[in-house]
């Protein structure tokens, strides 16, 4: 992921690197820690998903837009408004939830596109080798060196800013990044006996790729995809922050932070609340990805 993209955000976490062996701990304590290390962030991620996607439907959450100006700037803990209201009279808690929904939708979609397109192309390049590998990987080199900001501005101006277009713009990061990881993983499994055996028994390229290689590199890809989720959430925030992503009045954490910037000295909560939400979500995805990676590389 380049530029702002590539570069922005948590730099280079997508690069495949082995995590060192963790310290020798007492067996029981280590087991407990390992379980906590995966289940705690997994539970938190589930809770965030529930709050952002289901709670606004089933719970008493007011609409995030169209509030009355008469209710503007209510303080936190006002009746019916947990975090008060913004200057337009919209409920801040509701804007946080709906904003999170937008951020999560974007990051899930971008990661899924990256896994599907990048994973398949990278695995194909690593498996087939030769000039086709060269062409595919050079193409991704160009995309990685291409300043994502130019692309994001272009997409925003050409198609109009919005959630779907943000997804397209950010996919230009996730596809090459995951393709590189898929290729590296494929190079590692390509020489394994079962691949050679499958090749000798006359398995075709498509079947080989889909039935033999993909299932074996998928765990590693999924782990990096989880770490990538955090990066995408931050990037989406950056685009919305620059006014190129999701547009007000539709809330997203990025545009909430950007609009709170002007009120920073008077009412820092408009920056701090969405920032905290962004931070907690990214921490959870990073923790989950890290502990999966640690477990996976220990095997």
């Amino acid at each position: 992921m380049a530029v702002p993209p590539t570069e922005t955000a948590v730099p280079g976490v997508l690069e495949p690197t082995a995590l060192g062996p963790s310290a020798a701990l007492g067996a029981r304590f280590g087991r407990l820690r390992a379980i906590g290390g995966i289940w705690l962030p997994a539970f938190l991620v589930a809770a965030i998903l529930f709050l952002c996607f289901l709670w606004p439907i089933i719970g008493p959450v007011p609409a995030p837009t169209g509030g009355s100006i008469l209710n503007s700037n209510l303080p936190s803990f006002s009746p019916g408004h947990l975090f008060g209201t913004d200057i337009n009279g919209n409920d801040e808690w509701s804007r946080l939830l709906y904003g999170g929904r937008a951020s999560l939708e974007v990051s899930i979609a971008v990661t899924a596109i990256g896994l599907l397109l990048g994973g398949l192309l990278g695995a194909f390049a690593g498996y087939i080798g030769g000039w086709r590998e060269g062409v595919i990987m050079r193409l991704f080199d160009v995309l990685i060196a291409f300043p994502a900001l130019v692309l994001a501005v272009a997409i925003a101006e050409r198609l109009g800013p919005g959630e779907v277009h943000t997804i397209w713009a950010l996919s230009f990061f996730s596809v090459p990044a995951l393709a590189r990881i898929a290729r590296a993983a494929t190079l590692r499994v390509r020489e394994q006996n079962y691949i050679v055996a499958a090749g000798l028994s006359g398995t075709g390229h498509t079947r080989m790729l889909l039935r033999h290689i993909m299932p074996n590199i998928l765990p590693e890809l999924m782990t990096f995809a989880l770490l990538g989720m955090g990066i995408v959430i931050v990037l989406e925030g950056a685009l919305s922050f620059l006014g190129l992503g999701i547009q007000a009045p539709t809330p997203s954490w990025g545009n909430m932070i950007a609009s709170g910037q002007g009120l920073l000295s008077a009412q820092p909560k408009f920056v701090l609340l969405p920032s905290a939400a962004l931070f907690i979500t990214v921490v959870c995805f990073n923790l989950l990805g890290e502990s999966l990676r640690a477990r996976w590389s220990a095997q």
Partner: protein, 319 residues
Amino acid sequence: MLRFLGRRLLLAIPVLWGVTFLTFLVINHLPGNAAQELLGINATPQQVHELSVQLGLDKPLLTRYVNWLHDLVTGSLGHSLASGQSVTSILGADLPVTFELVAFALLIALVFAVPTALLSARRPGGVFDRVAMVFSMAGLSIANYVLALILVYVFAVKLNWLPALGWVPPDHGFGTNIKYLIMPAVSIALSLLCFYTRQLRADLIQQLHGEDYVTTARAKGAGAWRVITRHALRNSVFGLITTVALNFGTLLGVTVIIEEIFGLPGIGHELLSAINQRDVPVVEGAVFVFALMVILANLIADLLYAALDPRVKYGSATN
């Protein structure tokens, strides 16, 4: 060595070409052009057309790109459509700002990352290590623009210690210059610092646990601290160099948003405003410089390998 250098620079050309061509296509497909942006919304179509002809915007896309390439080969990046200044002089004025920002951020990150990683790797799972790992995970998860705003709130709004935005060149007093630079640099440095710490720590632990030379050093009676700083660190430095080089592109991307928040007149800021003005030569120039810097960073990393590790020889055998 020279052959290796030449080969690497040759390989960089297609990537540079692809990046600039793609940028050209993308910017030229945006609605509106520089003439429209310069004249504003009240201009008549006639005026816009005349200025377009004057600026050479009516020529076909490929002709303009080939002209740009031709200029590039002769060492010129063309002239800004908005101000008429040469792009080289515009970028020449911006480059020191971005360069100082990036260098300062890298310096902060490395100065803190190396000792932290050494102390952590000395006793993995110890108190220091655990605290460092918790903090580095938290630091990795803070978006740089969030950190920038929090720093502004604390140090500029509440404490009034540092200026919230602006830029003073170093020749107007180095102290003042640093005062304006410190918050932008820290905003960029924190996530880098955390990332480098984690990478270096993992690498050091791997070296300390699995390598024969560590056993040898211990057997000859070298102390734990000496083994880790003189033996393990020297080998782990290569991983760190790779990480820094690979992240360089990301780092440059981050400067765009940070320069925007703090009002620094660097290349990122120039790029954003040039995109908005459809000032194609300036966008092309900035993108070209960004891509060139990323490629050079990777090349320097490879050369540093050779300088630091006597086993690495670049030439016909390894490449």
